[in-house]
């Protein structure tokens, strides 16, 4: 079942594996909170190579403060960015390495 729940603070792993990955480069290492747990889906990082993608992985909509994503962000201070991320890319916040 899903490891995180709505409201949990999470940090995106700073990982750079080769191959097809579904976590944008710019969000790796950033922290936000789970806006909602979406559902579980076959892992696209496996499906990309013709495998079945099972077991299904929980997918989360994670909300980030724009000012924490972009160092030079000049928009309104309350602006946020939502990114949908699979569970294996997330750690509990506080384990951020950079």
């Amino acid at each position: 079942m899903a490891r995180f729940t709505s409201g949990d603070s999470v940090t995106v792993r700073r990982a750079f594996p080769p191959g097809h990955v579904r976590t944008p480069y710019y969000i790796r290492g950033k922290s936000g909170h789970v806006e909602r747990v979406l559902d579980s889906f076959a892992n696209p990082e496996e499906l990309a190579y013709g495998r079945d993608g099972l077991p299904k992985r929980p997918l989360y909509r994670v909300r980030f403060a724009q000012s924490r994503v972009w160092p030079d962000y000049s928009g309104a201070p309350g602006d946020t960015l939502d990114v949908e991320l699979y569970e294996h890319w997330l750690e509990p916040a506080g384990e951020e390495s950079a």
Binding site: H20, Y25, Y49, G50, W70
Partner: protein, 115 residues
């Protein structure tokens, strides 16, 4: 590549200039490529999944990715996936391409077209 670990296609947040907002039309061949992908991926066939399609595009390498247009990248990935799955092979594809090229050079219209 200036940042370690960033693959070329993963360009969110990179400097890209203004967004081109003017509408543009698509030539027929692009519509055919789109239709082909829809047919290959529909529930009846499921021959190429969207993730396999993306993986093929991401594997192009920076030079090809930059040089090719959007639907040319689709064509490259569809081709790669169909060869990998044994649905077509390189030899028959190469022969067909040569045939098409010869036909075009002879002044013919595109094969299969009735205009």
């Amino acid at each position: 590549m200036t940042e370690a670990g960033r693959m070329h296609h993963d360009m969110g947040g990179q400097e890209a200039g203004p967004v081109q907002q003017a509408a543009h039309s698509h030539p027929d061949w692009e519509k055919r490529v789109d239709a082909l992908m829809m047919l290959l991926s529909n529930n009846k066939r499921r021959l190429i999944g969207v993730d396999e399609m993306r993986r093929g595009i991401e594997s192009l390498g920076k030079d090809s990715y930059t040089k090719l247009t959007y639907y040319e990248r689709w064509t490259a990935s569809i081709t790669q996936n169909l060869i990998e799955k044994g649905i077509i092979n390189s030899d028959e594809l190469g022969r067909k391409m040569a045939e098409m090229e010869a036909h075009a050079k002879a002044g013919g219209g595109r094969i299969g077209e009735t205009d």
